[in-house]
Amino acid sequence: MARAAERTGLEPVIGLEVHVQLDTETKVFCGCSTDGDADEEPNTRTCPVCLGLPGALPVLNEAAVAAAVKVGKALNAEIPAETQFHRKNYYYPDLPKNFQITQYDAPLCSDGVLEFSHEGDRRSVRIRRAHLEEDPGSIQHVRDGPADLEARTTSVDRADYTLVDYNRAGTPLMEIVTEPDFREPAAVRGFLEKLEEVLAYLGVFDAGSDGSLRVDANLSMVESEHVADDGTIPEEVLADANRTEVKNISSHRGAETALSYEASRQRDQIEAGREVEQETRHYNETHGNTVSMRAKEEEKDYRYFPEADLPPLRVADWKEKIDIPELPDARRERFRTEYGLGAEAASKLTSRKAVADFYEQVAAEFDPDLAATWVADNLLGELNYRDREIESVTDRLDEFARLIELVATDEVTTKNAEETVLRTMLDEGVDPDTVVEREGLGKAAGEEVATAVTDAVENNPDAVADYHDGEDGALNFLVGQVMQATGGSADPGTVNELLRAELDS
């Protein structure tokens, strides 16, 4: 872990708990759908199990376990022979059973690692554990009064009561806990981006779904002199530093903002001679700050005990059967060797699986370099400009292949293809041949141009004479004649060259 930080002062030490929703059809312990949309009615995807009704029994979703095993493999984690579930007891309206089914001392994954790049450096963060659990429901804080519900929705400290929706309750969650290996808030962002990339490659995560990634972070400050060059910090120094837990982070950018704020808040405390209080703080996304929350339960207060309704899970028997696809790092390296791409193009094309898949299909038919330029630069650039994702065009692969073919076979100029055909295809959803025909962009066939050049020279003896007398305008006049004869579809540069060759011969 190469660091450029100065040797004096205080440095933040950060560890993360990342909660990701696993993208299954049904909830982790019951058959209710996980497929909700933002404006769905509350409490319409529930059953006795996820409502915690008496006597209802959970049954584990095999797909959730398979997804968790994939995550474990991708993180190079150890997956034990046997794992089990525990009950974590606490009382909050989002938890209908008054306990959450989670994992405690036998998590599905432990001792993993995730590599990512930050400001051009390779970083490596150790994963302490990753386990499977159920998502709680969602809560809305409301004030009394006659106004519309929306107008009465407020913050937790101003509310008179809560409204609870259990549609989300029971969605499979994976909690991924890192070691305190981060030394800068900005690196957290790079880590989260990479984690999402990997999860998306595994096909276990839908980044577009609201609340699909939530982060809690631990942060403390240590004297820089205790931080070794490789970023390691003695255990006793870490144990001594008071730390806070920052909750309610829901985006990559939010993580960086929340932790930058929290680091400077703690630095101010310490530099003013005050002790940092060990507490839980809530990140306020609107204000970009963190505020103190109620005193939280300590770990022993959760009274973890084994979940007797779920038998143990012997994953050893079948974890070998669960395959994971090629991951972003490996694919990037393969793109460099197999297609001869540069580092930048290779990482641009592999950071999202859908983009990489799209590229490989195009590269199979055309020169990989040309395909890389078209996908990485032109297509992604135009999509980005329109705030659109690659998914909006993945079913139009044939049309993009045709566009590249038109350029590769010299039927359309690169300029026209980039500036007119591609943009019109994206904006109007039409195929490239339609655009070329409608806009008259087809490069005239070579023979047609050659004939037009010969005709222009034969039919305009005065201009030819002027050309030989060194008159500048003559050549332009002849080019104009050819362009007119070919309906503007000839490439002016080519016409220029052909005319000169004809005239000077």
Binding site: E25, P48, L53, N61, A64, Y161, L163, E297, P311
Partner: protein, 94 residues
């Protein structure tokens, strides 16, 4: 294993009650330690039973990832003491 278990104190009772969001008045909080002691003494008899190793009868019980019909909103809310606009009404939280 035969010595009597550690006694539950009034502070323990108050702490657990606060975690469980249960309001106990002072007399209740003071009455519970004796009751807990009686209950724990009674169950201490189990310490005399020899431990046996037992394998769990079931392992790897799982279901396929297939959607099943759940409850309607009306049915889901039918046992709730109070509901509003399709939501369960809960207490304010801190």
């Amino acid at each position: 294993m035969s010595e009597s278990p550690e006694r539950v104190t009034t502070e323990d009772v108050e702490h657990v009650a606060s975690l469980a969001r249960v309001d106990l008045d002072e007399s209740e909080a003071e009455a519970f330690p004796d009751q807990f002691a009686d209950i724990l003494d009674y169950f201490a008899a189990l310490d005399e039973v020899p431990e046996t190793e037992s394998e769990p009868e079931l392992v790897n019980v799982m279901r396929a990832d297939e959607t099943r019909e759940g409850l309607t909103q009306e049915a889901a809310l039918s046992n709730a003491p109070e509901s509003e606009a399709g939501y369960f009404v809960g207490p304010r939280v801190s």
